[in-house]
Amino acid sequence: MFDLFKTFLQIGLFTFGGGYAMIPLIEKKVVDEKHWVGHEELVDLIAVAQSCPGIFAVNISIFIGYKQRGVWGAFFSTLGACLPSFLIILLIAFAFLQFRDNPWVEKFFKGLRPAVVALIAAPVFRMAKSAKINRYNVWIPIFATFAIWLLGVSPIYIILIAGLGGYAYGQYLRD
């Protein structure tokens, strides 16, 4: 239980830029080190967390916590994921002006932003493997990427269409 709390505390503390930025760290800590979920399960989990309301990263922590230790596991991993944000924001709210005007802080963030983008881009190909992308379904991620990136389609519609499409295709194969 404490392990869940500690792991998600670390994830919450070192995730800059929200939601997807958490994925590389979750992959490293939760999948590679702790083996709480498999690579393929993580892909499923991202789909579920994305299609549920609420905060993506928190949704992921709830599922993993619940899978490991039931409701209390979910509670402690969520607490771990939220606590750093809560404390850091309070601290900043107390001392807002000093923080904003500090050029060192600004430079620090300028430096880490490209790294965050790289860390989000990096798991794409590994996930493609876990998701069993082949030449018959490779059009799905390509289509999804362009629909979101260039047409500004909300990811929630992509998830809905993909899920319904998969379900319909499964039914069609069985008939």
Binding site: G18, F63, I140, G170
Partner: protein, 192 residues
């Protein structure tokens, strides 16, 4: 005061319940509620909150809920101790709906994981998630994160170098993401 706390709770509860599509989508909901409907703060104050929520660790939704809760109490004339209570209420309220929903869904998923309908649904979902992630990365490759090639070439090329460094360190050497982020942050302090 009780009215304000109840309003904070209810507003963020609704945002948590209907906030589909991640942090950025949530921010526009929070903005509408907090600035336009409830008048808890000015648009300028809200913009500062968004900027800080984006550049501090943690999910953007949690960061902004915490900050809005605090600011709303202070703007209403209460002292910082009550601000902390406001933060707590807003943060709790924004997490609570998805906590309950995700518990139900997790239970359902673990039970029916091998059911054929669930399996074929995920057959469609999995490739789409790969696209989602790729789009998220592409959307972030913008001027805000990398600078402008002709206006701020120094920042731009250093950012590109940091991007490549982070990619190689992560993919080839399996360096811990925390280490990569700290290294690039410190490099930024020295070079920018």
């Amino acid at each position: 005061m009780v009215v304000l706390i109840l309003r904070l709770f209810w507003t963020f509860f609704l945002i948590g319940l209907f906030g589909f599509g991640g942090g950025y989508a949530m921010i526009s909901m929070i903005q509408t509620e907090v600035v336009t409907h409830q008048h808890w703060m000015t648009m300028g104050q809200f913009t500062d909150i968004v900027a800080i929520s984006q550049s501090t660790p943690g999910p953007i939704g949690i960061n902004s809920a915490t900050y809005v809760g605090y600011t709303a109490m202070l703007n209403a004339g209460y002292d910082p101790a009550w601000g902390i209570l406001g933060s707590f209420i807003a943060t709790f309220a924004v997490v609570f709906p998805s906590f309950v929903l995700m518990l139900i869904i997790s239970k359902f998923l673990m039970k029916y994981k091998n059911h054929s309908a669930v399996e074929s649904t995920f057959m469609g979902l999995r490739p789409a998630v790969v696209g989602l992630l790729a789009a998220a990365a592409l959307l972030l490759m913008n001027e805000e994160n990398f600078g402008n090639m002709s206006e701020t070439p120094w920042q731009f090329w250093i950012s590109v170098a940091m991007f490549c460094f982070a990619m190689i360190a992560h993919r080839v050497y399996r360096t811990n993401p925390i280490t990569i982020i700290l290294l690039c942050g410190i490099t930024g302090m020295l070079l920018f």
